[in-house]
Every structure is written in structure tokens, then in C-alpha cells.
Amino acid sequence: MTTTKKKIRIMTDSVADIPAALLQKWNIGIIPTYVNFEGGSYADDGVELSRDYFYQRLPEMKEFPTTAAPSHALAEDLLHKGIEGYDHVISIHVASKLSVTANNVRLGAQSLKDRVTVIDSGLVTMGIGMQVLAAAEVAAATGSVEAVVQAVEKVRRHQKLWAIIANLEYLRRSGRVSVIRAFAGSLLQIKPILDVHDGEVEVAQRVRTMGKAVAKLKELTEEQAPLERLVILHINNEDGARELQASLGSVVPPDTITITVGPTLGTHIGPGSLGVITLRKAWRS
């Protein structure tokens, strides 16, 4: 039971890959993550660094790019700015098992005491984004922190994220994901379908060709129908994304979007990759 309706600001990090129009619509605040390459450090906010440029350069880069979470000082600064004019901030972040971003934001939020609620999405890219958009909707409708936290929890239980890794080299070079050890000495060329949930990255399928991987991805997506939201992910593979969406036919809900995964995450995945994030309609029941 909430006594008064609070003014709640929803914030997230740039890994969420939320399109600018949606950020604007819900006035969502962004805490950027950083990509360091070729001697520079760039905020991965879609402004400072052109994604197309970055991915064109990526295969050629001699030094593998590194990624960095925002410092807690930066987070503190942005939270203080973000909460101006609001009663409360709910900040939803990239899986804490994959990045220290959520932890740094928690540290940065200490000076705001209980006016900030930090949530570990357990996901990446628009997987975070879907939770953020649901949070914004529920916050506007209810003004209840509790209701938003519950809604995010429900969304999370009805989400799925799968990605086909076109070339394992990038994950291998990044050394970030333990699942890749399964392929460390792989003799065969494999295009695995990864399943990301609760910060864990698991191998859903081992397949050897993109064609078979896409067929499997389609099958996995169809099993989730009916869908409220569908996001198609890709890195420099727009044709693949378009074909996948077309092949899904009536499974595709309105407002389906296709996005290029941001450099922070994309550095580890590499060009050619393709993925989907689903949110089942059932999350509202």
C-alpha cells in the first residue's frame, strides 16, 4: 500500500541499447559505459562513438578493444543530476555477473540513501531495455517503487535472450565469458547459440552453419509466442536480421525493433552475429 504517488525517474546504462526515441518518450537517464580502443576512450552512448565506424574497424584492430564500467564517482554525479525534480530513481543495469556497472552504481547511490533502487537486470542490451520500458510504464501509472520492482521481476521471468555467435574469435579474445572455455580448444568451426539469463551465459545449441543456427533461433523464438515485445539484435548483419524477422511472420508483435548491439557488448561478440530478445505477453497476467 503506497500512501502517496511518487515521482519516479528510471535510469539505466548504455549497454541497454534503447533507441533514442524511446529514451526521450520516457525520459530515461543513461549512465554510459566506455570502450577503449586505438588510444582513446569513448562513451558508448551512441553519440560519442559511431557504431558503424566502430564495427567496420573492429576486425582490423590489432589491439583488442577493452570495455570499462562507469566509475562510482561518475555514477554518483549522474544519479544526483538524474534525481533532480524526482522523488526516487530506479536504475536498472547490465547483469552484475558480466559487468561491475551495477556495483559501481550502487556505490555511487550511497549518498542518496534510500532514494535510489538499483536493479540487476541479469541481462544485456534490450533485455535490460525491456525491463526499463516496463518500469517506466508502471512508474508513470502507479508511482509505486514496489510496483515497479515487482513489474521488473515479472518481465524478467518472461524474457529470453539468444544470440548466434558468427565467429568465436571475439569471445575468445575477450576472455570474458567462461562458457567459451567449452570451445577453447575447439577443432571444429562452431556457431553456437548462446542463452543469456540471470547473468549466466550458456550454450543452447552447438551448430556448424549460420543457416542451421538461424533455423534454430527461429524455432526457439516461436516457442515463446505470443509475444508482447520482440527485439532483433545484430552486428553488421542487417540482411540476416531482416530475413529472420520476415521468417517469423505472425509471431512478430507490433513495434518490433531491430538494433545494432552497442560496442561495449559488441566488442565481445563480433560482426555477423544475430540474436533475439523476447518478452512473452504472459508477463502481465
Partner: protein, 563 residues
Amino acid sequence: MVVEIGRRVCDGHVFKWLLAAGVSWLAHHREHVNNMNVFPVPDGDTGTNMLVTIQKAYAQIATMDEGHIGLVSEAVARGGLMGARGNSGTILSMLLRGFANGLKRREVMDGASFALALQSAVDYAYTTVSTVMEPVEGTILTVARETAAAVGIRARTENDLQVLLSVAAAAANRALERTPELLPRLKEAGVVDSGGLGLVYLLEGMLRLLNGDQVDYEPAGASGSVAAAPARSDWKDAIQPDDEDGYGYDVQFLMLGQQLNVDEIRRAISAMGWSPLIDGDATLVKVHIHVHNPGEPLSYAATLPGVQLDDVVVENMQAQYLQYVQQREQREVPAPLRQVDGVAVIAVARGAGIERIFTEYGAARIVPGGQTMNPGTEDFLAAIQSLDTDEIIILPNNGNIILAAQEAAKLATGRQVRVVHNRTIPQGIAALLPYADLRERGGTLDEMFQAMTDSLGSIVSGEITTATRSVTVDGISVQAGDLIGLLNGRLAVAASTMADILRGLLHKCHAEDHELATLYYGEGVTEAQARALVDEVAAEFEHLQFDVIAGEQPLYPYIISIE
């Protein structure tokens, strides 16, 4: 004495002698049976497989002093079941099982019970084979069935075992001669069914003993030194050369001339060794023979007036044999046993690279074998028993191994063993990927078996090897020594260069509609050679990616999966 007793009734002792004679006669003709391959590929080894099977069966009674034929034939059946290898060997073991069923509780066998036992053997084999595959006519099954039918009719009026055995041998021979009519593949290749031929030799050996004819060889195991319980290293006995000078050399060449006398050449060269295959016409004669001194046939042929030699190939079979024994011994040093939870996979493979891949994707045991040296039922049983789990899936990776694996699955009481019916190494690798996925998610035996079976159709399997003899199959003519390419086990192309073969295979399976061709290069091929081959061919297949992997398999320079 044996003969006198044998005419009227046959007890356990006589049966043992009859079987020993059959084994000897088959051993003597093993190479002949081996050479009855439809496909000119180093494959099958039906003679060896049947011989090992029947030797295992005989080893069970070699030291037995038992007059009760029911008990003796029961022991033979048990031994055969354990030793069964290859499809023909496995069917032979089924025949032995059914034969023993027919003699149950009989102390002696007379003409009537011989006929009944033969019929029981045939019924059992057909029924058992039917549980795993459609019985194929024109094979050992047909020969056995027609033999039993002929003996059954004659036994109504005849009780003399020697007469009935001669009826059996004659009927088997007639049935064998008709196998090419029933199986067009045999006819096209100009051979009779190899398993049927093996059965004929078994029956003939028995008959020769009764007729008082010479049966040359002591069957392995007859010395009494072989323990009743089969030891794992018995394969060594099975492949030991019959000749104390060893396996010798395999010599093949073409004779070019004007007025060659094929019959005379055949007589002269056949006398120099064994397993001769000599054929041709006045201008071209193809010679294949196994000898201890390769110089003999070569100098004979080269010194005939007006004769040129071509395509001379001399292979040291003794060296190949010794190398194989050494490799297999090394492999049989038990690998550190991998602990397996849940469902384990046993895969048949040869070649260090291929074995590594199977291990990488979760095969718990590798049973050495494949194109030649088909592993037997007991090899599978040993692998099954070495595993600490009750649920097992076998990948035979070869059509000639499926039956033996299936038999082992039945014998492994208390465990659930499934056999994937896959015929090629690429299919086996394709099947392992979903297995690896499901294992991580704790999938059930049923789910895994289904997913593995479903995966078989998702790829095309190619193989490149050298033709072991000249033949026309599926409308393609090859000369012994030609490079040949197979698609899904069928002869698809013959050509003189590796690049042409690969190109031909890829075109034939419409590789341009596929995404990935994986080349596993074999023993004797370097990575640089494999990559050069790909570079030479790749331009023609714009959308196809190539993956080059060291397979190190023998006999097949390349195994290819196209998906």
C-alpha cells in the same frame, strides 16, 4: 571313426570336429571372401569378420570334452554372440544361436534334427535381423534360407548326415550363385555376396571332413591354449598371418601388349602366391596377387615378349599389419577412464584427429575400428562395461558395424543401450553436437537418441579413397588404383586428381546450396596439402566455406562433411 559315427548321428564331439573343419576351411579362404566387396574401397573385410566370429564361437568349445550336442552348440552360440563383428559375422552368430535353439536338450543330432536346427537357425536370424532392419535378399540370409529349405525337403527321405551336408553345401552354392540376381549391386560389380560365400566355405569345410578330404588348417584356438573366456586381445590371433612368412606383398600392375594369353599368365602368376585376381584380354591384363617375393610376378611379366608394365603398385602388407598391431596395442593401453554422469556415448573411430573430435564433444569411449577392422560385439561390451553409467548411446559410424553394436546393446543386461544407425564419421560428429547440448541441460536418453538420430539427415558425407579393384558400380567405371569419391557411402566420382574428385563430389551433392564443407585429412596428407586442395577448388563454390581439420584416419585421404 569320426566319419562313421558322423554318418548316422552327430554328438558333441563330432560337432566340434565338424566346426573345426569349417573354421579351417573359412580361414583358408578368408582373403577370397574379403575380396568380394561390392565397392572397390578398403572396407568390409567380410572374410575376416566371419572368421573372427566363428573362431570366437569355436574357442568356447576348444577345450570342452562334452558329448551332449545341445550343450556344445549352446556354448558355440554364446561364443559367436560375443565374437560377432561386421554384419555378416553378426548374422552368422544369429544363425549359430538359432541352430543351438533347435538342438536344445538333444544329446545327439540325426538327419531330421539337423534339418530342424537349420530351419531354426534361419528363422531366428530373420526374426532378429528384422528387429533392426529390413532383411536384405541376395545375402548370407538368402543362402542360409535356401540351404535350410533344401535340407528340409531331403531330410524327409534321407537320414544320412553326410548326404544331407552335401545337399546343404550344394544348395548353399546354388543360392550363392543366384545372389547377383537378387542384389543388382552384386551383379554390376561382378561378385557374389561375400557373407554367403563365407557360409559356403563353412559348410564345405564340414563336408570335406566327412568326405575325408584334406582340411588344411588348425583353427586358431584348437591348440587348447585359448581360455574359455574370451580375452580382449584375441583380435591379435584373428589377424595373425596364416603364413609363417607373414602377409607378404600386395602386387598390382597392368600388362600392355598385343597377343597376351590371359589363361597362361593367370596360371603362371597364380602359382607364385595367393589371392590372385588376374583378368583382361589380348592387349591388357590386370594382375593382382599376394606374394612373398614381389620380384617374381614382376620379372615374369616384364620379360614376356612385347609386354609393357604400367600402374605398378607394390604394398608391403606385413608392414601394414605390424603397424596396425602396434597402433592398436598402443590404443588399447587403457585411457584414463573418464567419469560420466548420465548418458554416455561410445563411438567407433580410427585416426587420432577424428578421435580427438569425438572426445571433445563428449564421447566417453572410443572403440578403435571403422572402415577395416570392424569391432565386434565383445569390443562394445567391454566398452559398455567399462562405463560407470546405465544409459549409453553407441555411434557405429559405419553401416557394417551397426548389427554388432545392436547385439552388444541386447547383451548388456541391466543397462539401456541405444544404437544410432549412422553410417559415416561426419554423421557421427553431427550427431554429437546435439548430444553435447542436451548433456549440459540434463537431457534424457530418449531425447538425446532422438536428437542424434534426427541430425543424421542434416549433412552429406563424402569420402575420398583409392579403388582396391577395377569395377563398374552405379554406372561408374573405375580401375584399381584410381582415386574415387563416395557420397553417403555410394560411389559418386572417379578421376585422376584429388582436385577433380573433390570438385566432382561437391558438384554432385550441390554443395553450392550448402554453407560449409569440412575436410578431415587423413594419414599421409599434410595440412598444407589439404589447404592447397581447398584453394584449388574453392573458387568454384563461392558461397561455400571450408574448414580443414586433421583427421589422421588411415586409408581415406579425405573424409568430408557438407552441410
